[in-house]
């Protein structure tokens, strides 16, 4: 199998007269963090929503593991190996950390609708949940309610919930939003550890972090890709500097 796990081609999304995303193409490879940057309204979140199946594209195709998944629903894409996190924290605050991860893992179990056996006896989902929490650095807080975690820990839990679904591709929408320096370092270390086994798409506003972690950076302005390449090439691109970075 090719190392390209997710491919988007000619992705376009129109909202009436507004073109939010226009003819965008990108490839996500295993072992690579691919960052998408751009000002507010550049179309980054729309792009991630289209890739994850949350909204359909007006035109273009999405391929996951070599299969055309453009017409697939979001849950079907998730079960096929596409994990995503959101800008706003979407953990289940009343559930424990372990239960958050277990519920995410449950979607991949053979009978996620099983109705007579206690969920606490589902070894498959519990095992996957513990493993995911450990990988995300949450092994010590498994029994704590998710609502009582710090902001950084909640963002880690978001990643852990993605990992519990055994994804090949991770689409991460601003995982560093609202984090302090220490929490950012911890999250970047986590992403660096994850990229060996996953293809990661990172939508992020923290430019220092993006340039530290990304292997490829795609720059979007007004729904259009104006540049895509290695961080050094992006940094030296005059059009990127003019449009976005402001001489970063």
């Amino acid at each position: 199998m090719s190392d390209i796990l997710l491919r988007g081609q000619g992705i376009t999304r129109r909202w009436g007269g507004l073109v939010a995303v226009n003819d965008v193409g990108l490839e996500l490879k295993r072992g690579e963090v691919h960052a998408v940057i751009g000002t507010n309204g550049a179309g980054k979140s729309t792009l991630i929503n289209i890739l994850s199946g949350e909204i359909p594209p007006s035109a273009g195709t999405v391929q996951l593991l070599g299969q055309d998944v453009t017409a697939w629903s979001q849950p079907r894409r998730a079960r096929a190996g596409l994990g995503r996190s959101y800008q706003r924290t979407t953990v289940y605050p009343g559930f424990s950390v372990l239960e958050n991860c277990r519920l995410a893992a449950q979607a991949r179990t053979p009978r996620p609708w099983h109705w007579w056996q206690s969920a606490q006896h589902c070894d498959a989902s519990l095992g996957a949940a513990r493993q995911a929490a450990q990988r995300a650095g949450l092994a010590d807080v498994l029994s704590r309610p998710a609502g009582s975690l710090s902001h950084g820990e909640k963002r880690q839990l978001e990643i852990a919930m993605c990992l519990a679904t055994a994804p090949q591709v991770l689409l991460l929408d601003e995982p560093l939003a609202g984090m302090g320096a220490e929490e950012t370092d911890r999250m970047l270390a986590l992403l660096a550890a994850l990229k060996a086994q996953h293809a990661i798409l990172l939508v992020e506003h923290d430019m220092d972090a993006v340039f530290r972690i990304a292997d490829t950076i795609t720059v979007m302005v007004n729904g259009v890709v104006i540049f895509s390449g290695a961080p050094a090439a992006v940094r030296s691109s005059p059009e990127v500097q003019a449009a976005y970075l402001g001489g970063h």
């Binding site: 629903s73 998730a78 994990g83 519920l103 979607a107 969920a119």
Partner: protein
């Protein structure tokens, strides 16, 4: 999920309630027996709505339709002058309610929020007017059940629901079975998925759950249990009328689960008892004299006060002293801190 030690007092409370209800006929007169039978029917009805509202986060405002269909099916399917066999009448009545729930759920679950509330209300009103305005439901006069159903095995009658004590016992058994079934369901993977849908449906879809079939299944199960409650109500009274499908009853059952404490099965149980007993209290002419005619006012004010003062419902009463102590301590600490700053 909460641990076993957290669950034990709650399970004991439920066991005590159900045990007390099992022993109640030993001390009760005929009025009390009839009243508590009615309350247990309401408790089953409230449990059915709790599955939708408290567990799945779907506020259905047309639940009386399923209750009424269960009741009407029991009467309409019974022979005119002979006892129907309970073995098929009960499943048929429950199936009728479940079938209507499947139709309503399949369409209404395409909507969300206030639209869902209004669509479920609209479907319930459609059912209401079908029994109200057509010969099928006997119009406003309703229909009588002439002979109560029986359970026969090998030609001999094992159970005849004609007696007050028998219908009490049968209703109690149904209440225990429904409570046990829902308890099992909520702890299962299916139940946890419903809880996840209530907490954050978007996240559930992103993790790979197609949420629509889960919600539809919950809707049908809920409608079937409401149909069971309606069946028991129709058989107990031997009479059904369109009011059993009215929006007033949909509102009343919603109030029961809010009053008891949303998100907990025992809340539905407590809420049904509290609502019905408050209703009896404010209707009592012995206590309120002529003002008893305005019982809605007293009941309404009490419910408003309960909801305002008890955000977790009546079952939250247990933790209330600790909550107040915590708040008082917090205020005292705040005052001390501001004193030090000054």
């Amino acid at each position: 999920m909460t641990g076993m030690s957290d669950q034990t007092p709650k399970a004991m409370f439920v066991a005590l309630c159900l045990g007390g209800l099992a022993l109640y006929p030993l001390a009760a007169g005929s009025y009390g027996l009839d009243l508590v039978t009615k309350i247990m029917v309401y408790a089953i009805f409230a449990l059915s709505l709790e599955l939708l509202v408290g567990t799945t986060g779907l506020v259905c405002f047309g639940h009386a339709a399923f209750f009424g269909i269960g009741a009407y099916a029991a009467v309409l399917l019974s022979p005119e002058s002979d006892a129907a066999e309970l073995g098929w009448l009960l499943p048929a009545s429950v199936a009728a309610a479940a079938a209507y729930a499947l139709c309503v759920g399949a369409l209404s679950l395409r909507t969300q929020g206030v639209y869902f509330i209004m669509v479920t209300l609209a479907f319930a009103q459609m059912a209401y007017y079908i029994v109200h305005d057509t010969p099928l439901g006997g119009g406003t006069d309703g229909i009588y059940l002439n002979v109560k159903p029986v359970l026969s095995v090998g030609g001999s009658t094992w159970l005849n629901l004609d007696g007050a004590l028998t219908i009490y016992g049968f209703t109690w058994a149904c209440l225990v079975a429904v409570f046990g079934f829902l308890g099992l369901l909520l702890r299962s993977r299916f139940g946890r998925a419903l809880a996840g849908i209530k907490a954050n449906e978007q996240r559930m879809r992103a993790t790979g759950f197609s949420t629509y079939p889960y919600k539809l299944a919950a809707f049908v199960i809920s409608g079937a249990i409401a149909g069971l409650a309606g069946f028991l109500f129709g058989v107990k009274d031997g009479y059904v009328n369109p009011e059993l499908l009215s929006w007033h009853l949909s509102g009343a059952v919603l109030i029961m689960i809010i009053l008891g404490g949303l998100g907990h099965l025992r809340g539905a149980l407590v809420g049904a008892f509290a609502f019905a007993l408050l209703q009896e209290f404010f209707k009592s002419e012995a206590i309120f004299g002529a003002f008893a005619r305005h019982w809605h006012l007293g009941l309404g004010l009490t419910i408003i006060a309960s909801v305002a003062l008890l955000p977790n419902g009546l079952i939250g009463l247990v933790g209330l002293p600790a909550l107040w102590r915590q708040r008082l301590l917090g205020k005292a600490r705040g005052a001390a801190a501001s004193g030090e700053q000054a």
